[in-house]
Symmetry: D3
Subunit: 237 residues, 6 copies
């Protein structure tokens, strides 16, 4: 159930807000990562399949600066093996006292064609990350080096991130507000529905700016749907 | 005790910080909404009487997307009936897991001449709200659609917002730091005093930049008051 | 053990992130003030020795606006006596419900040549402080006047700030991510090591952007150290 | 849809844990008041319809000890008008810094035949309340008198309590673990189902103590249902 | 302004709840230590003047097990010098991750005739402390040895404890609900008033149990005051 | 490195407080599970090797009551396969909104000879668990059925519990204060040292009750060690 190009394009053009509505209609209430924010104010939107990394608390005898020399260290391995077009999602237990990653690692991800990085902890060197123009989401800046608080445990398992279950292969979408996790099997249908909703909301926004009241317009009524059909045709969309 | 124009103008020119001082002198300690921030970095200041909306937690059988079709739905009714020049203040129990409102509703408020919107929860489509240049205050962005966590219960009652009691008709003032709630019967006198204090502080700021120490200047002494009188006269204020 | 000029310059050129690594190597895990952020997005970096001020909770009979008339009031005294080149660090018990200081006081500090101000509470008039271009760090904006929640107790004692022990004379370094406290006796050696690390990381960043993988580069290997030596020489650093 | 006697009896014999399962099967996820605990370790179970009282934050000029002299003060009115057999449920915004009620008021409720009292704030005189042997639930003991932090706003509206929506007439059930709120229209059917489940779990508990594994027993299988039918008949239940 | 015997006796017979009311009438809102609970369920009430100890966060190079060998270590010194009849009050910054003290130290305090111990952190060996039958108050049990998180900084300064300002010499009163701090100069008058209120509340409790409604009784009316006078005389109080 | 009988016996006789001291001396600061408490006030002490279960947040389509019918459901499998003498440790992400387990499952564990159960979430049917007299530790009672908030993900991995890293095979020790996790390779040496310390503290406790000051006794001096040697011999320990 790989993410097809049409779905990717559609998801790039819709908001996380709209996606939560589509998923709520299907019974999903908990899809938006809580307290996970864009690192930079102007970073591009993010779409990609989840590639997961799990951190547990550090232990003083195991977690020293020496861990990074190990080529099999799960954090470093995640950076080098997360597939292009995927999003590296890190379960940091919501703990931003120590960094989940820093700018050198994020740069490497970017160079490798990865679609973005998400943690419910914090990044260090976050001003540098913000300058990359790469989709990166965290809780807050966290200068302290990772091994002070975190131990990279494993890759590719279901994780918690921002209070949401993220399964490898789920589709992560991020915009300027935050990040939504779409269960893999729903990505295509939700993308299609969200694209339609977005178009209707563009029409609504225009009508509201022109002075129309909400009633009969949002949510849609028969009359507003007819007006929308005209509007849409006139714009060739 | 409607908000008169002179008071409105005065309140537009003073800071929330100064207002807390004036209210503290009158025995009020808890007037500044905690953890309620401007949505946009450059939105205009806000002054207006409170029009209240109260949310309680959602219940799965009552709160679905269908609620919005009801013309009497309290949230939609609040958007259409909040008087021009007033501020819509929403008691979201400090819960930003689901949205208190989104950009279409806020646009409608703006078009209707409402003075601002405040919640102790979060708004969705917050980047769009920020672009409106309309005074909007919340805790943090919240993409999830409202009915996932909130049920609009009623309009026009005393509420809690950001840990502060807000009574309908109280005067809400917002600047780049946050929002203060002034009990209605004190608005005029507090506005007058705050305007005076603000002028004095402009003078102090000038003196401090010129190298004067704080002692004898801030708080004012007889000497500083005399210097201020001169300064004031020379500027025709 | 006053802060020498070479150390000050070195510390101005390194990040708080790098400093936490150097200190972690020496066994220090808790040196980065938690939840303490720059007030302005573009304020300069900060380096200076800690000059401490301690706040305890306000008491209604002791803490009124009248306290500021006292020339010995510890907050005002701290503003007037914090030595040039030092950083005023305020223990606000992490409580941002009332202000730790405001823009007039911060302006006075700046005029006096102080190197910065840090609190684990909040500043009022924070938009004004942000415009000063002066290093100021807090938890979040806090309009309410100080005596509502805080009593200035004393100056010059060891304090807690952001969960970190700060001893008078410790070296405070701040950048766009936050603030680190370096024990005084380690400042020079840590500054030297951090400056070296920073140079190596500049080299790494260049290599990673050029497509090099992390392994063998970060952390350094014998090969990468050799390449670095060449790179360094070629740039005369 | 008054609470009938059979339902009341059934609900007195089942646990809040079992009720959450019955409600989850019907799509309700948020029915158990979070962080609301029994005041006394040995108080009786509680069943009754919700009678609601809503508190907002105190305001210094309105909330003094004088408020209690008013015969229409909502808190006092709630104590005197909450019907026998009902439960007084107080929305204290989860704030236990000031008391929601004290032992004299709770004694009066008990004398009046009320079924229990619940707040998501705290009670004062809680050791006295614990001695009453009356069902009372709160977050934690809270000695400070109510008007320091709370203003009694109104009676009989939908409220939030412990993060759960409570509508007047909903059925509140409390045991030694906490409190569950059952939507009024579901009380009878949920009570019947929960009573059945409880009986089955008694059987399971017996089997598990005797050494049976969980598989095939819990959840029930055809075989275990047959064994249960026998067990049940043999006990005449 | 030492605590006289009559005041001590009176304070031993009133509740912390009643004391908060007396202090609120005098304008004090923040006198009850938040989230500070008795260690044992049956420990005696506590009355005594505050003797303060202040902890700051531990630093790895300063805070090792070796600190306790120093006869001037502030925590050990506090244990040996806190005067009999006083209460040792510890500012632990609300941090219960490491212990503020343990059972051996508390035993020593008890043997020395000290009146009680209070922290807004946690005690270790708390089951042993509970068995002492000595007034001890904390946030929650905390097995980890103190130097992991705390550094004892100094003795005899104003401190924060449970969010309340405690000045040396203030009168600390504890019961089964928690701890109240009475400003020293108000102890005698508050004790007298609280003793009177307590007697009236005993009368009210009796009337309410007998079926009287609250109105006209609580708060007192002319009629109820007359009945109370009779009741009081008849009991010789 | 299985837990030998001598170590098990020693660990049964020492406190979690003492164990944190022994581990701190070896550089371990974070070994005591935070906010994890005994379910029952009188449950026996706990010693056993960790057998881990990991929960992630629930997803509405995956987590229904039907999951428990699956014989491979990780929670049920953990209950049936956790070895006798081991402790089942559950990573519930500190989330007590839904239950980690209930009394039937805990009874089954007990019958199977398991040494205890620990979660950083909550148990349902906790009064029933308390009556079992079986070592069970959690954050607080949690009636809601597990699948509302939790999904059992896997067994036998390193986890976080109460903010501490727990590796399968680590030795979990619980007493009336809480739970400590001892890295497997240190269990024997720490047990021996802790047993010695405990004996010395028994001696100290006796001396302190007899009136000895702390200095020269705690920590031990040459003199006190000599006295202890005598005391010990006289008691044949």
């Amino acid at each position: 159930m790989a993410l097809d190009e049409e779905t990717r394009v559609r998801l790039s053009g819709v908001s996380t807000a709209t996606l939560t509505t589509c998923l709520f209609k299907r019974g999903f209430r908990n899809v938006c990562l809580q307290d996970v924010h864009p690192v930079g104010p102007a970073q591009p939107a993010m779409v990609g399949e989840a590639f997961t990394l799990r951190l547990v608390p550090a232990r003083e005898d195991l977690d020293t600066m020496a861990v990074y020399a190990d080529p099999d260290h799960p954090q470093r391995k995640a950076i080098e093996t997360c597939p292009a077009g995927h999003v590296l999602v890190i379960d940091s237990r919501g703990d931003a006292r120590g960094a989940s990653a820093g700018d050198i690692l994020v740069t490497r991800l970017m160079v490798r064609g990865v679609a973005g990085i998400v943690t419910d902890g914090g990044f260090r060197d976050s001003p540098g990350i913000a300058r990359l123009g790469f989709p990166a989401y965290h809780r807050r800046p966290s200068p302290p080096t990772g091994p002070i608080w975190h131990h990279a445990a494993d890759i590719g398992l279901p994780i918690a991130c921002g209070g949401v279950a993220v399964y490898p292969g789920d589709v992560m979408v991020g915009d300027a507000e935050g990040v939504v996790c779409i269960p893999a099997h729903l990505a295509a249908e939700v993308a299609a529905e969200a694209a339609e909703m977005t178009l209707y909301e563009t029409f609504v926004e225009e009508r509201v700016r022109a002075g129309d009241p909400l009633l009969g317009l949002y949510p849609a009524s028969e009359a507003s749907r007819a007006a929308f059909a005209l509007w849409r045709r006139s714009r060739g969309r």
